[in-house]
């Protein structure tokens, strides 16, 4: 029963959503070059299924790689800012300023610096757009650690590294995973920005672009759905990791 609810309810909501979409297109009598309907999608997927697999894989690995770099760099930055007030004062304005820049404006800049390095540029953008929430959450998690938590180990002569490993790191994990869930979706935006804008790009973004060029609207919508699907998969992968590493933070339902 519990399982049925957990899987059935989200599935039902998706079916209802698709039904409303189909209905909207049908009621308005829109042709598929104005708005594709869900029933246009399976043929589009079938027609290009090899492309979807190949491009989807391209988008996925770049996003995941960018995200992994963002996790390492974001955690590192967060640690520096969490432990040192001076570093925090120095880095926060820079980070906030950088984060405020619309990343679409960076695409041509990056494309000019690293001409033709499509894989590299895509991964770089996924990283640039997604490290900020991680850095901020880790730094806040560390800087708000109550002094008693540090003292129980410090009083025994434990090193800073030990205190970080045994107390600060696990205590920050729930915040970290909260930020990672935001970063997952951001990283997809980064990957696709580059894939769409770059000429001769690869990945789902490029497939979207080719759909636009050829006036194949069902293909464009199919790409959007494929992206949503990948986003959901990656998001729930993070949720699964969170359950393993920070499941203790979840209070049993009263």
């Amino acid at each position: 029963m519990e399982h049925l609810r957990k899987i059935g309810v989200p599935l039902l909501s998706i079916v209802v959503f698709l039904g409303l979409w189909e209905g909207l297109v049908w009621v308005n009598g829109w042709p598929n070059y104005k708005m594709a309907s869900p029933s246009d999608l399976p043929p589009a997927f079938w027609k290009y299924h090899m492309l979807f697999l190949e491009m989807g894989w391209q988008t996925l690995w770049r996003t995941v790689l960018g995200l992994c770099i963002a996790v390492v760099a974001g955690t590192g930055l967060g640690m520096i800012m969490g432990f040192s007030r001076i570093a925090r004062d120095a880095l926060y304005p820079l980070l906030v300023g950088f984060n405020a820049i619309p990343k679409a404006t960076l695409v041509p800049v990056i494309a000019l610096i690293f001409i033709g390095q499509h894989d590299f540029n895509t991964v770089l953008m996924a990283f640039l757009i997604s490290f900020f929430p991680i850095a901020v959450s880790v730094s806040i998690g560390l800087s708000t650690l109550e002094p008693e938590y540090r003292d129980i180990l410090r009083a025994l002569g434990a090193s800073r590294l030990t205190i970080f490993r045994k107390i600060a790191l696990p205590k920050t994990l729930p915040e970290f995973f909260g930020a990672l869930k935001v970063s997952v979706t951001l990283a997809f935006i980064g990957t696709n920005l580059v894939e769409i804008v770059s000429p001769h790009g690869r990945g789902l973004g490029a497939l979207f672009k080719s759909g636009e060029t050829n006036g194949d609207y069902p293909l464009m919508f199919a790409v959007l759905i494929a992206l949503a699907f990948l986003g959901i998969v990656l998001y729930y992968a993070v949720v699964a990791l969170e359950k393993i590493f920070a499941g203790w933070a979840e209070r049993p339902h009263a």
Partner: protein, 264 residues
């Protein structure tokens, strides 16, 4: 007599925006080995600073802190600490929380030995059967019991407690006093207890040190000549009542409510 803890002329001040804020001023405390020293004083008189100094987490501006005939300049493995907040690590079970200090102090101790030691202590404080629970599943009093176990699991010579029972209700607090008394009977250690509760100080202490208001000096030391195996009833006996009255008067003086009696 050999004093395990000696605090000699310790003064300390914090730097604040409005200049230095002196909290301790020429403090003198001496605790013989195995004795229980309760420290009472008005709010904000620097009692918590005192615990951090003894633990070696801070160094005083002036004066010296000695443990076991050696001057304290940094943290030592032979100290245990407990705070008002039980500071349970939510991601560990109760058993793993109690084991934590052993991971630092005795990294080579076999796992089975650690578990046995922790289980033994948990049983003594009445937490048998709760070893595998998460801290969030326990009541405040139970978490504080686990916190006490963790503070002494590595057999420290000195246990430093900063108002450990302050956040508990009156009956739970009295239960924990008795737990503390039993632990001391089973596991000898020297103890410094910071508290606001005069009855707690008299029930648990071998000596009660009264600190003056900020900056704190040693205002008075009262020896508690009650038997070691005291029960709560002893608090209603005249000799305990006399002590409580004397302490009450000292606190009033420390708070500055009545002028100190002229020296005679």
């Amino acid at each position: 007599m050999e004093h395990l803890i000696e605090i000699k002329g310790v003064s300390h001040a914090y730097t604040t925006k409005s200049g230095p804020l002196p909290v301790l001023d020429g403090l003198e405390i001496a605790v013989p080995e195995g004795e229980f020293c309760a420290v009472v004083g008005p709010s904000g008189c620097g009692k918590s600073t005192l615990t951090r100094l003894i633990a070696g987490l801070m160094r005083p501006d002036r004066g010296e802190v000695w443990l076991h005939g050696a001057r304290v300049t940094s943290p030592r493995k032979t100290v245990g600490m407990a705070f008002q907040n039980p500071v349970m690590l939510e991601w560990r079970t109760i058993l793993e929380n109690v084991i934590l200090p052993l991971e630092i102090v005795a990294p080579k101790m076999p796992r089975a030995e650690r578990v046995a030691r922790a289980e033994h202590l948990l049983e003594m404080v009445g937490l048998k059967g709760f070893e595998g629970k998460r801290p969030s599943e326990l009541s405040g009093g139970m978490r504080q019991r686990a916190s006490l176990c963790r503070a002494i699991v590595h057999k420290p010579d000195v246990l430093i407690m900063d108002e450990p029972f302050g956040a508990l209700d009156a009956f739970t607090r009295e239960d924990l006093w008795q737990t503390m008394r039993d632990l001391r009977a089973a596991e000898p250690f020297t103890c410094v207890l910071i508290t606001h509760d005069l009855r707690e100080a008299v029930f648990l202490g071998d000596q009660v040190v009264v600190l003056s208001g900020r900056p704190a000096r040693t205002q008075r030391v009262i020896d508690v000549d009650l038997p070691a195996d005291r029960t709560l009833d002893i608090l209603f006996e005249p000799r305990a009542q006399d002590m409580l009255h004397a302490l009450r008067d000292e606190i009033r003086i420390a708070q500055g409510r009545v002028p100190a009696a002229p020296a005679h």
